[in-house]
């Protein structure tokens, strides 16, 4: 018996002349489902078309070709929406007649989606209004509860392929408050700045002009009035932050800013009261306006992404409870120990429990990272977070939701800790010295003037504090990081906020998760071991696989070479075991070792599909993880500057493979539970490591929270990812190193712009110390330094950005 080893690498076959579905754009299989001369891939898509064409909404297809999604089977899934207690928590507004609800719909992706969802009232007149927020992928619908209900709305949306995603996260009372205070503050400061500039302009040049002399008091008091809301409203964050910093004995950048603003305001007020001069209201309002502008620029958010998700976003709101053989939907927080629960196919197990009956095949990839579904027999323990993947099961809860194994992870302290606390930014590190130097200069200069000409002493003291107000320094970081944040976003690397860039540049250890992070989700590599297959057998194999929807059949089908299409005489799929088919005299069995009659199966760690032909065992296809493109290259680049490690929740089946691929000093750890990963990172951090964790699933949530920077790799950024600092599109995985390099360069840019602003400060200080600081000089110097910093950082970051792929 000769063993034949063939390596088959997947090249997805292209059917050239195949028609695409008019509704969803998928390629249509053999079956021809047509309506109005349009082809559909399935009856679901055809139904959606029928619903839309009956209501004259076919315009949906004109705006964008094939915009739809296949409607999913939702039988019984939304029964819980008929419970008043749950409805009450989901709706925004309810007066007994009308309800308003905002639903998250992941499928929203094009203009057709907006159009159809905003025309829902054509489908059901009870919906009076519906409005889409494209960025957030939500639709806000107003409907009449006398003839319609939330459940019917959800079913209507699902029937046209826009199934909303309702998770435990939505189960909370009260409306979310949108924080718009920064826009208000920016508006106030900008408004005051413009008007004050307008009023102070005459006095810059014409000092002794007759009309000006007459009206300048009025002008000055108007400027004073305009500056009041700026000081007391727009700038309040700086005063609060400075106060907090002094209380905790830290010198941050807000202290010199607050000091400068207070001195500006007081001196200007005193000047106009005693008629010494026109004051510095122009500089004061300008300073606050530019600072807020920097804050606003830095605050780039990706509304379609969330960086704060915990298990609640994954968990359902309700499950089906069995009480006296009756199915009753129950809110998951109300599940008690001993409750009988019914879990349908593709539903998530919300609590730890024991399987009572049904064939359970649980996908624990959320929890452990283990990619293969696990079979469970009645009496086995089931853990919360697993997804049932075949048929209906019944289970008994043995814990409540909060006490379950998975959810307990979130009671760990790391989830309540703010990463930004305890991290000294470069700006604050600089401002510490800066504040001390400025105060010393101010006191020395005042002492000197007290000795030479005491009438000028107070003037000089305040002038130093005014001109040294570190506007330009405070703007360097927001504009550099803010701009890089946008550039990264265009390259599909989405950061939670600007401070992540700074943290990223300090990293010295990188830890990767395995499944889903360095491997891609598609299993596209399989190795055949066994007796060689004849052409007839291969043809039969391929054609048998064609009919199956099992994920392994699909991937094996994609891998195998193209063969003629034949019609099978018999075909039978045994759930959870395999497929049996015959054509002419040939018979084939594909599936588990036991199913095909291969008894001498030893314990193997990798997934395999066995094949037997005419009751003779032929061999098996073993699937291997397929690693992301450029993985070896990336690790080899990283190994020079960083400690590397892989923490996998999976078994050791891939160890040899990984050892071959990765640099030898990479640490490989397997069978890591979520908590183990967290502890591993914590341990290394106590040894001084700055850890970048790269993960993908809920099982990495603890590690992502504990690490200095947690990056989530995502195949599809619209799918949920756990709480993290950054989301990286999987296609850009091999560019990770260049992103880290870019963040290091950003830090250099900031240092250069500090130098530039010190240069302006020296010029300003010269005027201040010599007692000749006129309002016009301050009014020129402050915007000039700020604008040149903005220009410098923008050009420099764009230059870095151009080097990124």
């Amino acid at each position: 018996m000769s063993l034949n080893v063939i390596f088959v690498t997947g090249i997805k076959e292209q059917i050239m002349d195949a028609k695409v579905c008019y509704h969803c754009g998928d390629t249509c299989a053999d079956t021809k489902i047509t309506k109005d001369e349009k082809v559909f891939c399935c009856n679901g898509c055809k139904t959606v078309y029928e619903i839309l064409s009956e209501s004259d909404l076919t315009c949906y297809y004109d705006l964008q070709s094939s915009p739809g999604a296949v409607p999913k089977e939702i039988e019984g899934k939304y029964d819980f929406l008929s419970q008043d207690k749950i409805i009450e928590k989901l709706v925004e507004f309810d007066d007994g007649k009308t309800q308003i609800v905002t639903l998250y719909i992941p499928h929203i992706h094009c203009s057709s989606c907006i159009w159809i969802l905003e025309n829902l009232n054509k489908l059901n007149p009870a919906i009076s209004q519906s409005q889409v927020n494209f960025g957030k992928k939500t639709v806000r619908a107003t409907y009449n509860t006398e003839t319609f209900s939330l459940k019917e709305l959800v079913l209507l949306l699902s029937s046209v392929g826009y199934e909303p995603y309702i998770s435990l996260d939505d189960y909370k009372t009260g409306k979310e408050n949108v924080n718009r205070s920064l826009i208000y503050k920016l508006g106030v400061a900008g408004f005051a700045f413009g008007n004050v500039m307008f009023l102070s302009f005459p006095e810059y040049f014409e000092v002794d002009e007759y009309w000006l002399e007459k009206y300048k008091h009025l002008f000055r008091w108007l400027m004073f009035a305009y500056s009041l809301p700026v000081v007391f409203y727009a700038a309040q964050d700086y005063f609060i932050s400075a106060y907090k910093a002094i209380k905790t004995r830290i010198l941050n950048i807000d202290i010199p800013i607050a000091l400068g603003a207070i001195v500006l305001f007081l001196r200007s007020t005193i000047e106009i009261i005693f008629n010494y001069g026109s004051g510095f209201f122009d500089s004061l309002t300008g300073l606050i306006f530019f600072l807020l502008l920097g804050k606003f620029f830095q605050q780039k958010t990706y509304s379609f992404l969330s960086f704060e998700r915990d298990y609640k976003s994954y968990f359902p709101i309700a499950v089906t409870k069995i009480i006296n053989n009756e199915e009753v939907p129950v809110q998951v927080y109300d599940i008690e120990k001993g409750d009988r629960l019914l879990i349908r196919n593709q539903e998530l197990i919300p609590v730890d429990g024991i399987l009572i009956n049904g064939s359970a095949k649980i996908d624990y990839s959320f929890v452990t990272g283990e990619s293969e579904p696990v079979k469970k027999a009645s009496g086995d323990k089931l853990f919360a977070g697993g997804k049932q993947t075949s048929g209906v099961i019944e289970m008994e809860a043995i814990k409540s939701v909060e006490q379950s194994y998975l959810t307990q992870l979130w009671s760990n302290d790391v989830f309540n800790k703010n990463k930004e606390d305890g991290f000294t930014t470069l700006t604050n590190a600089i401002s510490k010295r800066f504040t001390i130097i400025i105060l010393s200069i101010a006191f020395i200069a005042t002492a000197y003037w007290l000795y030479v000409d005491s009438s000028k002493a107070m003037n000089v003291f305040t002038a130093v504090l005014i001109i040294a107000c570190p506007c330009a320094i405070a703007l360097s970081a927001p504009f550099t990081f803010g701009n890089l944040l946008r550039i990264f976003g265009k390259k599909k690397f989405y950061l939670k906020n600007a401070s992540v860039i700074e943290q990223l540049s300090h990293i010295n250890t990188i830890i990767f998760d395995k499944t889903g992070t360095i491997t891609s989700n598609k299993k596209s590599e399989a190795k055949y071991e066994g007796l060689p297959l004849t052409t007839e057998e291969e043809t039969l194999l391929k054609n048998t696989l064609r009919g199956s929807n099992h994920p392994l059949s699909r991937s094996l089908y994609d891998i195998l070479d193209e063969h003629n299409i034949i019609t099978l005489d018999t075909y039978k799929e045994h759930l959870g075991q395999g497929i049996e088919a015959s054509h002419a005299s040939e018979k084939i069995k594909i599936g588990s070792a036991k199913f095909v009659g291969y008894q001498t199966e030893t314990e193997v760690l990798n997934t395999a599909v066995h094949v037997s032909s005419n009751s003779i065992y032929k061999g098996k296809f073993t699937f291997y993880n397929s690693y992301r493109k450029g993985l070896s290259k990336l690790f080899n680049k990283l190994k020079k500057n960083y400690d590397l490690a892989i923490l996998s929740g999976d078994n050791e089946g891939e160890m040899e493979n990984l050892k071959k691929l990765l640099p030898s000093k990479t640490k490989l750890l397997f069978n890591q539970k979520p908590n183990d990963k967290l502890e591993y990172i914590k341990y290394h951090q106590t040894e001084g490591a700055k850890v970048l964790m790269v993960g993908d699933g809920l099982n990495d949530a603890g590690a992502l929270a504990q690490s200095d920077v947690g990056v989530v790799i995502s195949e599809n950024i619209n799918v949920f990812s756990p709480a993290c600092d950054a989301i990286l599109d999987a296609s850009k995985f091999n560019h990770l190193y260049s992103y880290i390099k870019a963040s290091k360069s950003a830090l250099k840019i900031i240092k250069w712009s500090f130098l530039l602003s010190f240069f302006y400060n020296v010029i300003g200080l010269y005027f201040a110390v010599t007692g000749q600081l006129a309002p016009v000089i301050a009014a020129i110097l402050m915007p000039l330094s700020s604008i040149s910093i903005v220009i410098f950082t923008t050009i420099a970051t764009n230059w870095i950005g151009r080097k990124l792929k």
Binding site: D56, L57, C59, D62, L63, S111, I114, W115, E118, N119, K122, Q131, V132, N133, F134, G135, K136, V178, R180, I183, Y184, G187, F191, G194, N195, F198, W211, K214, Y215, L218, L222
Partner: protein
């Protein structure tokens, strides 16, 4: 030369009107979604078309 008082009053009133308009726009959520309205305004032709066909259908 008291005309300057009138001018100043007018300029402040105009400025405050715009400022209030801005605050109201923010409060109504006009700055919350910067994308959808730009698409929505292109739908107006389609909406009229479907409205007409519906009224026609109802008449039949």
């Amino acid at each position: 030369m008291s005309v300057i008082y009138i001018l100043l009053t007018v300029s402040i009133i105009v400025a405050v009107i715009f400022f209030v308009a801005f605050i109201m726009a923010v409060r109504n959520g006009q700055f919350d979604d910067g994308y959808t309205p730009s698409v929505r305004m292109l739908f107006e032709d389609e909406l009229i078309k479907t409205n007409k066909t519906i009224t026609k259908n109802n008449k039949d």
